[in-house]
Symmetry: none
Subunit: 229 residues, 2 copies
DNA sequence: CCGCCCTGCCGCAATGCCGCCGCAATGCTG
DNA sequence: CAGCATTGCGGCGGCATTGCGGCAGGGCGG
C-alpha cells in the first residue's frame, strides 16, 4: 500500500500526466480540480502529502493551504506557473514545505515529494538543511539559493546566505562570531572575527536597499548577533 | 528501564517522529494528542518530564502546565511554533523549565531534556548554567541573552546579566561581592569591590525604568546582596 | 588576458561598557 | 547622639566593541 498523495490542479493535462507518474512510482493519488472539492475530499480521505497548484478557480492553492494548515501539519508542495507567483507564495509567508515552478520534470517532482516525505516522517531529525527557511518576512531557499524579504528577492553571496541562514534558522538565539564562522565556512577555519562584522554589514545593507526599516539582525554587544523575528 | 517522558502534541507527525527519537535514546514515551487526555493519563502513569506543545485543542499547553504544577513539580519543556507564543509563555510567567521553538532538531530536544532532567535530579546542587532562570516576575534565558521583568524585556549587558543571574539563581541566598565577581568574571580576577555596587546600581535602574516598584535586589549591610523572590 | 565580483581585512569614527571617584545618604556601634 | 563604615548614585575617562567606507588580492567567467 503506497503513500497517499493529493493532487490539486485545474489543468486536466497536468492532473492526468502527473497522477500517472506518481502511481508508477507507487503512490496512491487523489485528484481534485479545485480547492473546494479538494478540501472536502481531504476531510474524507486523509493523505500524507498534498501537491497544489497556486492558481485555481474557486479556491486557490494559498487559501487551501491555510485551511489545511488550520488543523494539521500536512506537508504541502506548491506548483507555480511563473516566478512572480512563486514570490507571491513565498512572500505571503505561506507555510508550504516546497514548491516547483512549471514547467517541471516529473523526476524533479518525485524527488521533491520524497524529500518532503522523508523530512516529515523523520520529523526534525533531518539535520540536512531544510529546503525552506521562513521567518516572518524573510524567506530563504538554499536549493535555489533564493532569498526574499517581503516578497522581493535579495541577491546574496554564498557566505552572506549561509550566515543569514544560520541566524534565521534559530531566531532569537544568540550566535557568536565563531558559530557564524562555522556556519559559513565549516569548522577549523580561522579568520578574523571582524570578518563576520563585514558580512553582517553587507547583509543589512542589501536588505535595507529594499526596506530601509529592516533591523532584524540584532547586535549583542560583546556577544554576537541574533535574528529577531 | 529508561526515564519516562510524556509527549503532548496535536500534530501526529511530531508525535511519532519525536517519540521514535526519544525511544531510540532510551526514554519511555507516553504520547497524548491533547491536554485533557494527557492530564488524565499523567494521573495514571506518572512521568519524570513532560514535553508540551503550547497550542493544542481542548486544553492548551499553558493550561495543562498549570494543572500539572498544581500538585507536583514535574519538569516541563514547551514546544512553541512562533516567537510571539514564546514571549507569551515567558511573559505570562509560566513555570516551564525550558522551551524550544519549532522547527527544532531532535538533537537539540534531547540535549534540553537531559539538561532539565539533570537539573531536576540534582536539585539546587547543579552548578551548570540552567537554560532558564525564573523567579517570580523575573525571567532569564542565557541562550537568547534575554531578560524580562513582568513580561517586558530588559536589556542587560553581559556583566549585568551574569550578576543578576547569579543572584536570581538562588533567591534568598546572600552573595558577597567576591562571589558575584566570580560569577561575572570568573575567578582570579581582582577588581575593586565597589565595582559590583555599580553594576547593582545599573541593574536596579534598568529594571526600575519599567517598574519603579522593583526592589528585589536587597542590600545586606556589610555582607552583600541577595535576590528576594 | 581582462574585468568583475567576492572577500578578508584595515582604519577611523561612533557608540557602548565599565571601573572608579567623590559626595551624600543611610546604617551600625558605642 | 557622635563617629565611623557602608552603600547609593551621578558622572567621568578610558577601553573595547562595532559600523562603515574602502582597498587589495584572488577566483572565476568571458
Amino acid at each position: 500500500m503506497g503513500t497517499r498523495i493529493a493532487l490539486v490542479d485545474d489543468d486536466q493535462n497536468i492532473l492526468t500526466s502527473v497522477s500517472l507518474t506518481l502511481e508508477n512510482e507507487g503512490f496512491e493519488v487523489d485528484c481534485y480540480h479545485d480547492g473546494e472539492t479538494a478540501l472536502r475530499g481531504l476531510g474524507r480521505r486523509p493523505v500524507e502529502l498534498a501537491v497544489l497548484d497556486i492558481k485555481m478557480p474557486r479556491m486557490d492553492g494559498m487559501e487551501l493551504l491555510q485551511k489545511i494548515r488550520g488543523d494539521s501539519s500536512l506537508p504541502v508542495i506548491f506548483l507555480t506557473s511563473k516566478d512572480d507567483e512563486l514570490d507571491e507564495a513565498l512572500g505571503l509567508g505561506m507555510g508550504a514545505d516546497d514548491y516547483i515552478t512549471k514547467p517541471f520534470s516529473q523526476r524533479l517532482l518525485i524527488a521533491r515529494i520524497r524529500a518532503v516525505l522523508r523530512r516529515a516522517s523523520q520529523g526534525e531529525m533531518d539535520m540536512s538543511a531544510p529546503n525552506i527557511v521562513r521567518q516572518g518576512e524573510l524567506l530563504m531557499d538554499p536549493d535555489r539559493h533564493l532569498c526574499s524579504w517581503k516578497g522581493e528577492e535579495v541577491k546574496l553571496t554564498v557566505t552572506e546566505f549561509l550566515i543569514l541562514q544560520a541566524l534565521a534558522l534559530r531566531p532569537g538565539m544568540v550566535k557568536n562570531r565563531d558559530q557564524l564562522m562555522d556556519a559559513a565556512y565549516g569548522e577549523s577555519v580561522f579568520l578574523d572575527d571582524r570578518t563576520i562584522d563585514s558580512h553582517i554589514k553587507r547583509l543589512r545593507r542589501k536588505i535595507r536597499v529594499q526596506d530601509s526599516t529592516f533591523d532584524n539582525i540584532e547586535t549583542l554587544y560583546g556577544i554576537g548577533y541574533k535574528y529577531r523575528a
